[in-house]
């Protein structure tokens, strides 16, 4: 399998504080990669590096290389083109205060799609891909804020898909959802895997085991180990990974 994302010797600082230490990781196409680890170990920070959301943090400094299809994301790709290729779904659903339709159309419009027919098609395709179309097709003009939390999160997935990304970053996408909505998102992830590279942060071991092909365990800003999910969960190499997975960890 070819490598989609390649992270080499990544160090990240917030001012004096070092949040990530010498991370080396590769993500292949069409795989689900789970990032696990205790709170504050740098999972979100790492994820936000991949679409350069850390640029928004004033005192954030990064060393090392991150390559998307072999191209350096910090120098060889325009940041907005990068973010088009690398979508992100956040921990808390964050639909805009607009209609369902406009939420989805916002991204394509950002990148130059203006024909109504084309937008209509993108909206339907994205919502269908996020398994939301049937629930909202009769109220596309209604506010997205009236949807339930689970629907809002699927809307956010659809919104990311609408700009035709290659990679999807998900930061604990189900932590704010009820079990049923969580199940729907997990099903969604398994379906989307056929087209996209998905990197998902999760607090939930079972979730990582259910949806991911590979898993990486982070601890205090360091990557402890990364391997096939089956291996990580059945025979972790590092004692700390084992402790965490078996719940012997804070």
């Amino acid at each position: 399998m070819s490598s989609k994302f390649e992270v080499k010797e990544l160090n990240l600082f917030f001012g004096e504080f070092q949040a990530l230490y010498n991370i080396n990781l590769q993500f292949s196409e069409r795989e689900v990669f789970a990032l696990i680890g205790p709170s504050g170990c740098g999972k979100s920070t790492f994820l936000k590096t991949l679409n350069r959301m850390n640029d928004l943090v004033l005192n954030c400094k990064i060393t090392g290389d991150v390559l998307l299809d072999g191209k350096d994301i910090f120098s060889a790709i325009d940041v907005n083109v990068l973010r088009k290729s690398v979508g992100m779904v956040f921990q808390k659903p964050n639909p805009f205060a607009m209609s369902i339709y406009e939420n989805i159309a916002f991204g394509p419009k950002t990148h130059g799609v203006s024909k109504k027919a084309e937008l209509d098609e993108i909206v339907e395709m994205s919502l269908s891909a996020a398994a939301l179309w049937d629930e909202v097709k009769d109220r596309l003009k209604k506010s997205a804020l009236d949807l339930s939390g689970g629907q809002q999160q699927r809307l956010c997935v659809a919104r990311s898909l609408a700009v035709n990304p290659e990679v999807l970053l998900m930061d604990e996408p189900t932590s704010a959802l009820d079990p049923l909505s969580t199940l729907k998102i997990e099903e969604l992830i398994c379906n989307l895997k056929t087209k996209y590279t998905i990197i998902i942060v999760t607090h939930n071991m079972q979730q990582a085991a259910r949806v991911s092909d590979k898993t990486a365990f982070f601890l205090l800003g360091q990557l402890i180990e990364a391997d096939l999910t089956d291996k990580i969960f059945s025979s972790p190499k590092d004692k700390r990974t084992e402790d965490y997975i078996t719940g012997r960890f804070g």
Partner: protein, 271 residues
């Protein structure tokens, strides 16, 4: 528990007094004004016999629109800069300090500034233009402060969501953040309209007290509030002044209702 009862009574009494005061004022204005609301007062032309307020109503509308035309864009862009673009710096502290200072200045001082700068220095004379620009400066802090608050109230997650789709900051601000901030922004504009419609001190030395309908932005004219002030200070037409107060009250209340209605329409997306 007696102390608890006492506090409860105190709170209730305070609320009652505030409501009662407002009620008494409105009642007083209506009782004194309504009987004197004669058709004469709404004649198209002002004469010293009919002391018509129609010209003043038209002047007020023009004055309000002109002031807002200047202050709303200027104030909103300042607020947008402060919230969305600036980073903590001395310049920023300076702007905030300037805005706060402007907000605390009594309106007569704005009037005197308008007199010196617009009326005399720019030789615009007593005119709607001088008055409107003076008022624009006066309400600028209101627009900036409420605009800032409205923008700050928009969740950071909206901005993140937009950036994460590859939108520029410009697009994020104008297509995602500002539409979500419309209710707060409208509230600020309503406040500004209220201050413009109710202002007298800043206008007497800038727009003058001519009782006729203005014919252009360079003609002098009095707004409704100034009209009322002149009538009551002259002492001949206190009844008519009270009647004018009724109209002013209704107009301001009507404008507020209208603005609220617009704000509601604009944000039917919000919950």
């Amino acid at each position: 528990m007696n102390r608890y009862k006492l506090i409860r009574f105190g709170v209730w009494a305070a609320a009652f007094m505030s409501a009662a005061t407002l009620f008494i004022i409105i009642f007083y204005i209506l009782v004194n004004g309504v009987p004197h609301l004669t058709p004469d007062l709404f004649s198209w032309r002002y004469t010293s016999e009919n002391v018509s307020m129609t010209p003043a109503i038209i002047n007020t509308a023009v004055m309000t629109v002109l002031s807002l035309l200047v202050s709303v864009p200027l104030g909103l862009f300042t607020a947008i800069y402060l919230v969305e673009y600036s980073r903590a710096s001395r310049f920023l502290t300076f702007i905030r300090l300037a805005v706060q200072t402007l907000a605390g200045i009594p309106s007569i001082v704005y009037g005197l500034f308008g007199l010196i700068f617009f009326v005399t220095f720019l030789s615009w004379g007593f005119s709607i233009l001088s008055g409107a620009l003076t008022l624009a400066i006066m309400v600028l802090p209101v627009i900036i402060r409420t605009g800032e608050e409205a923008l700050i109230a928009v969740p950071v997650s909206y901005r993140e969501g937009s950036f994460a789709l590859g939108a520029t900051r410009l697009r994020t601000v104008f297509r995602v953040v500002i539409p979500a901030a419309v209710p707060g922004i409208m509230a600020g504009i309503i406040l500004a309209i209220g201050r413009i419609a109710g202002e007298t001190a800043a206008l007497i030395y800038t727009a003058g007290t001519v009782a006729k309908t203005i014919t252009g932005v360079t003609s002098s004219g009095r707004t409704l509030a100034v009209h009322m002030y002149v009538l009551s200070s002259e002492g001949f037409n206190t009844d008519q002044a009270a009647a004018t107060a009724v109209v002013l009250l209704v107009l301001v209340a009507g404008m507020n209702a209208l603005s609220l209605y617009i704000a509601k329409k604009a944000v039917s997306y919000e919950q």
